[in-house]
């Protein structure tokens, strides 16, 4: 008998016994995990831990020059970039499919081509079927035979899916500390998004502070510090490997005492299937929650090139920290971020902000009508 197989069966046995032993008390278990952590002694605020950046600016000599580059809007247009103009050139693929069906009569091939267009936009099999079923129902109800009408119906279905009834604004309360937390898997652009938002908000006259609670990735705090310098805002950071909870705690204390309006909390990227890391995230949220009414947004950052796994990410993060909305980054590639349709349809999680380029002004509000238009007219 092969030893590995034997070993594996033993593993199974263990899994079965452990699962069986504790299955009946799963409710009790949840209670214990939610149990508030024993009161944490106030962290000694190390000198130099809370750095006001201007005094620290010598560390980043290149900042002023680069800042000008980044802040400059190529079009001279103010902060808001136009989603469609940004995406226009790259949309050929989807638009091509739609043009191919234009003027034709409805047949299975038309549906197949629409299906392919949607699938290529990462909309996913389930959501695509749902959209096309809706279109088919309308077609048979209205006795339509023209493929152009089908495209219009599909557009209507997508717009309905992204319906405007949801609140897409990033919430703050005036004259009070508002905290936004940013969460997501590795490499989606959390730190960059925060940097851009900090720059925008600070330029608009808000007092902003950053909390570099990504203490895991090498130089993540350094990256955020450079953003803080560019945006001219304060940052609370710790050493690499420091307890992110302590940083959030210190940042909350510092923001409260300095009367900051907006605190942006960066967290380490984590894969949503890592239980311990998700538990750490829950803890960070609890620390923010200690200041009642401060937490306004928990934003899930999603890379537009993400495929069907995006839905899984959204589910897990929503469950762990009760996400309020999402940020769709890197939408200026040819990726169409179709997964957000599924995320909104299934979880009711609205996209609030999209990133369409490298400069500060390229982080813009999400406009569903423009998103759909960009999909169809590109």
């Amino acid at each position: 008998m092969d030893t590995p197989i034997v070993v594996m069966l033993v593993v199974l046995a263990i899994v079965a016994i452990v699962a069986g032993t504790f299955a009946f008390r799963s409710r009790g278990r949840i209670e214990t995990t939610i149990e508030p952590a024993p009161a944490r002694p106030p962290a000694p605020v190390e000198p130099g831990l809370v750095d006001a950046i201007p005094s620290d600016a010598a560390d980043v000599p290149a900042a002023p020059v680069a800042a000008i580059e980044l802040f400059e809007e190529p079009s001279g247009e103010p902060v808001k970039a136009n989603l469609r103009s940004r995406l226009g050139k790259t949309r050929a693929a989807f638009g091509g499919y739609l043009r191919a069906v234009a003027g034709r009569r409805i047949d299975d091939e038309v549906y197949d081509e629409l299906e392919e267009a949607l699938l290529l936009a990462d909309v996913g099999v389930a959501t695509t079927n749902r959209l096309l079923d809706g279109v088919r129902a309308q077609v048979s109800a209205n006795k339509v035979t023209d493929a152009d009408a089908v495209v219009a119906m599909l557009r209507g279905e997508i717009e309905a899916m992204l319906s405007d009834s949801v609140d897409r604004s990033l919430r703050t309360t005036p004259d009070q500390l508002s905290v936004w937390m940013f969460v997501g898997v590795n490499g989606v652009g959390k730190t960059t998004t925060i940097g851009k938002l900090a720059a925008q908000r600070s330029r608009a006259g808000g007092s902003v502070m950053l909390a570099a609670a990504d203490t895991f990735r090498a130089a993540a705090a350094e990256q955020l510090t450079q953003w803080a310098a560019r945006a001219g805002v304060d940052i609370v950071r710790g050493d690499e490997g420091a307890d992110p909870g302590a940083i959030v705690f210190d940042a909350m204390a510092s923001a409260t005492s300095k009367g900051v309006d907006l605190l942006l909390v960066d967290t380490a990227g984590r894969l949503h299937n890592k239980n311990n890391l998700m538990a750490e995230l829950e803890k960070l949220r609890r620390i923010v929650d200690r200041t009642e009414g401060a937490l306004h947004e928990v934003l899930l950052v999603i890379d537009a090139t993400t495929g069907q796994n995006g839905l899984q990410q959204a589910k897990q993060f929503a469950e762990a920290v009760d996400v309020t909305g999402s940020v769709l980054t890197k939408l200026d590639g040819t990726a169409k971020g179709g997964i957000v349709l599924a995320i909104q349809a299934e979880l009711g999680l609205p996209v609030k902000v999209v990133g369409v380029g490298e400069t500060v002004g390229d982080l813009i509000e999400f406009d569903p009508a423009e998103f759909v238009a960009a999909l169809f007219e590109g």
């Binding site: 197989i5 033993v10 699962a19 299955a23 898997v185 090498a218 130089a219 350094e222 894969l271 090139t305």
Partner: protein
């Protein structure tokens, strides 16, 4: 949504099972299911189409294997085709006869280039090479700093300067010559494949350093876009190989297939975690199983082999043979399993596990509680669990900080398991003889053992034990030698007592 292909095909074939073999029409119907499975795994639509055409050809021409049911046949054909497509040389970098060997990493933003530059350097170093890391990502803030930190952590020299990427890369090579390093890993800035300026810059970096290995770093979570990314990068700087990252997530990783189809070059390495040593040579067969949602038995076995020492393996085997399984053994195995990583991951790697188990949130702290319960028993009690009466149970519960209910449950589960082990011991001996005979005949003996299970394994959680192991998905991984011998275990025991969560 994430049902494995084998589950789905089972659904279709349950209707046709009486016929027992494939017609062309069946193949067409099945092709749709395969397509859906591939699309849900993020395989590109066009790649999926081409792939299915190949599968169809293979399926229609295939010799009908008597021992496999239709679903298993199809899964096997798809799996084999996936392995064939994903395969090729893995983990082999071209080594220049005239050092230093230059490795250039390129990819989208956030795909993991910098981290994997560090991992690759560590990997090379562990093989006795002398790498130098060059940070030519001057675009993203603190990217250079990040690589410098990683270089320090693995104690590998690092070079970068504040000029432009082409100069940094070129000087990096000079630096490697000066220091006598035999490998140079050049990290570049992430860029979108449609950004003409940056792609041009990448081409200039390439020209400046003349890499022996140009590697595309791609995120396993990438969707349909993977094809465009791969083809655009491949056109700008011909790609020699691919590193697929973040496969420790739960993405199916169809992007691997898309990229492989487009670039036609091997996927060399896979990033399997956040730590620098979580990096391994790419395994096409594992990726194939993953794309099809078949679990990852081979990784599990490999992990088990690393964790369990010879003595423990021998003991485990003895347990299986004799069916003699005590709480002491259980404790011992439990501790080994703990070393294999989070239980959830271990379970995730098992194929054919019912959804209830896979989705159950098994907290590793529960392992600790089980451990505590057993540790609160006397050696005599561990050897003879039957001797544990009411007052002993109360004592054990108190000692371990649990409740008598939990102690009872553990003992009950353990009793059932022991029973099953005994049955398996008997079955194992019978099957072992049988499979040895079969082995002499050569070929795939496994299917024979598997068949009765997949058709007759008890439904629901009962199947979790051995029945799950005999699921079609696994039948396909049949090259595991004597595995078929164990396949027949589904019937007898099962885990009837395992409550649903």
């Amino acid at each position: 949504m994430f049902d494995s292909l084998s589950d789905r095909l089972d659904g279709i074939f349950s209707r046709l099972r009486s016929r027992g073999r494939l017609t062309e029409k069946d193949v067409d119907e099945v092709a749709r299911e395969i397509r859906q499975a591939l699309l849900e795994a993020d395989v590109n639509v066009k790649v999926a189409r081409a792939f299915i055409t190949r599968v169809k050809d293979a399926a229609i021409g295939a010799n009908v294997h008597e021992a496999l049911n239709p679903a298993q046949q199809i899964v096997k054909i798809v799996h084999d085709e996936l392995v064939a497509t994903l395969g090729g040389e893995t983990g082999k970098l071209v080594v220049s006869s005239k050092p230093p060997t230059v490795i250039l990493l390129a990819g989208l933003q956030g795909s993991g280039k910098t981290t994997h530059a560090g991992k690759l350097a560590r990997h090379l170093k562990s093989q006795g090479r002398q790498p130098l890391l060059v940070g030519a990502d001057l675009q993203r803030l603190a990217a250079v700093e990040q690589l410098r930190t990683l270089a320090q952590r693995i104690d590998v020299p690092f070079f970068s300067e504040d000029s432009d990427p082409v100069t940094v890369a070129r000087k990096g090579i000079d630096e490697a010559r000066r220091l006598g390093r035999d490998h140079v890993i050049v990290d570049t800035a992430g860029r979108l494949q449609i950004d003409a300026d940056l792609m041009d810059e990448l081409a200039r970096v390439r020209d400046a350093v003349q890499p022996h290995n140009t590697l595309l770093v791609i995120d396993a979570m990438t969707g349909q876009e993977a094809v465009n990314v791969a083809s655009a990068f491949n056109e700008t700087i011909p790609i020699d190989g691919v590193i697929i990252t973040k496969i420790d997530g739960d993405a199916r990783g169809g992007a691997a297939l898309s990229v492989k189809e487009v670039v036609g070059k091997p996927i060399l390495f896979a990033g399997t975690g956040e730590k620098l040593d979580e990096f391994e040579v790419f395994h096409p067969d594992r990726m194939a199983g993953r794309i099809l949602g078949m679990g990852d038995m081979l990784t599990l076995i490999e992990k088990a082999e690393q964790t369990f020492d010879e003595e423990q393996k021998a003991r485990a085997e003895e347990i299986m043979r004799e069916g003699d399984f005590t709480l002491e053994d259980f404790l011992d195995q439990l501790r080994q399993v703990k070393k294999m990583g989070p239980l959830q991951n271990v379970i995730g790697m098992l194929p054919g596990m019912p959804k209830e188990i896979k989705d159950a949130d098994i907290d590793d702290r529960e392992l600790g509680r089980v451990e505590a319960i057993i540790c609160s028993m006397t050696p005599a009690e561990r050897a003879k669990p039957n001797s544990i009466n009411g007052s002993r149970r109360t004592r054990i519960a108190l000692g371990s900080g649990t409740s008598t209910g939990e102690v009872n449950n553990l003992l009950k589960q353990f009793g059932q398991m022991q029973q099953m082990m005994k049955q398996m011991g008997v079955m194992g001996r019978v099957m072992q003889k049988k499979s040895k005979k079969n082995k002499k005949k050569g070929g795939r003996t496994t299917a024979k053992g598997t068949k009765p299970v997949s058709t007759k394994s008890n439904p629901g959680l009962g199947g979790m034990g051995a029945g799950g192991l005999g699921s079609p998905g696994l039948g396909d991984l049949g090259d595991l030698g004597d595995f078929g011998g164990l396949g027949g275990l589904g019937g007898p025991g099962g885990f009837k007592g395992l409550p649903k969560r």
